[in-house]
Symmetry: C2
Subunit: 287 residues, 2 copies
């Protein structure tokens, strides 16, 4: 199976490296070619456009930044659909809009292309170690067919329902994380101001009912002033905006998630710190 | 060592039972005597007031509802301090105001009474199983002296600093939990409205970066419509109010915690559901 991959960012690079380790035949495209050099050095091939990638692949995986990028890669003049042929598989792993996932699926149906939405969680570490969690929407038969591919870079792959269900599950995931990130941040802000020993507070809280992955992973990074991105703050803000737009369309009010979005807007839009990791939220208090 | 205990609620009862299992000599007082019957049946003795309890104990542990109850039990006409004598130990395990912990400590100093603030986390299950986490403020020597008592009902006991430090650590704990509870609630609300399979969503999220204790413990309870209290919503609201008052006094703005408090106010004050567990927050959406 010839695999095409679009998007050689932190996540894409980790996934491609795991595919190459399994001797997969991988061809890549990226907006900035220089960012693909790492995987090209390890044996991936290069093409100059998504269209060319579709011409040369049985399966195309896409993992880019924003829904607007996804739209362009699939529907643009040099996009995947321009060269799509019956029986091909396109899988979008970008965290993107459920409604866009449905639009891509519907267009694929017309052309006889199998479409899945399959966003992931697990961050840079999960991509590198091949332990990502993959949340899939689309046709179940297509999911079963591609499961062996997903398993090369993931430790958990679950089918959630029709097109968009993968994206909706990822949105649920991000809503949960909005809670753990804001809670952890305000907890540390309070504890520091109260003069408490922060490593000891983190350790005690992790042994009880306040325990969570964000505190365990990002707490220690904050305490050593490490704001390098496991996950970019700007991408998390993008996710929260999608989640709240979708919620709005479903007539749901999610005030805590809205509050989290406002805090990340302060960090990304006002303070221009979107290229920091999500744990940089604490910089709103600790200057 | 003769131990006195005030407060035979869910938490107190669990703690007293663990003390009795270790053959401790325990005398109790509770505002409503009927609620003490369970521990009286197991060998605890009864007195009619905090004052009488102080007369009959070397160590008094208190675990009641609100800071106003704590104030009354320590400083009231029939309060502990009325019968306090040099060398005695009083330990408040109620989650209460750091400033009140300091006031009790200062008064104890004058009388030669050793005072600790030692709130716990771990809920009803932790109290029953003797696996609570105890967060202690006061004099370190007093903490060391009483550690063997704490260990009869806890799996983690940590000294955090001078009077009030235990309460401040507990406030940090509750701020963190405000994030996990609001995040989990809005996540489930979103996932249900999006038509996803909720048990499958919970399981997938718990295997990744969204993982947390609240989701693991209260997610399943919500899915089977179980709103019985591990921890009363009204008590959690009390804790968030204390945390935000303290934050205010330290000139800290904690918007996500404020949002959580507002949601719990809707649940407790407007909808009168304070005797439900904290997971009942979801009733604001699921009627």
């Amino acid at each position: 199976m010839k695999i095409g991959f679009i998007g050689t960012g932190v996540m894409g690079t980790g996934i491609i490296e795991n595919l190459l380790k399994n001797d997969a035949d991988v061809t890549v495209y990226n907006r900035t070619k220089a960012h693909a050099q790492q995987v090209l050095d390890q044996g991936a091939k290069w093409v100059d456009s998504p269209r060319e990638l579709a011409e040369n692949s049985d399966l195309v995986l896409t993992m880019v930044g924003y829904p607007s990028d996804v739209e362009k890669i699939y529907f643009g003049d040099d996009g995947l659909f321009k060269a799509a042929r019956q029986g091909q598989y396109f899988v979008d792993m970008t965290t993107s809009k459920p409604s866009l996932a449905k639009k891509i699926f519907d267009h694929g149906q017309k052309l006889g292309v199998h479409i899945l939405d399959a966003p992931v969680s697990g961050g840079d570490v999960g991509a590198k170690n091949g332990t990502l969690t993959v949340m899939v929407g689309g046709e179940q038969a297509d999911f079963e067919k591609l499961k062996p591919v997903f398993q090369q870079f993931s430790s958990s792959d679950t089918y959630f329902g029709p097109a968009g269900a993968g994206q909706n599950t990822k949105m649920a995931n991000q809503i949960m994380i909005a809670g753990t990130m804001t809670g952890m941040t305000e907890m540390l802000v309070y504890a520091k101001k109260a003069g408490l020993d922060l490593p000891m507070v983190c350790q005690t809280l992790q042994s009880g009912a306040a325990e969570n992955f964000s505190l365990g992973t990002y707490g220690p990074r904050i305490l050593r002033d490490d704001y390098t991105p496991g996950f970019f703050a700007k991408h998390f803000l993008k996710d929260l905006r999608i989640a709240l737009e979708e919620a709005d369309e479903m007539n749901l009010d999610l005030p805590a998630t809205k509050q989290a979005k406002q805090l990340y807007e302060q960090l990304v839009d006002d303070q221009k710190l979107g290229n920091d990791g999500t744990q940089a939220l604490i910089k709103l208090w600790w200057h």
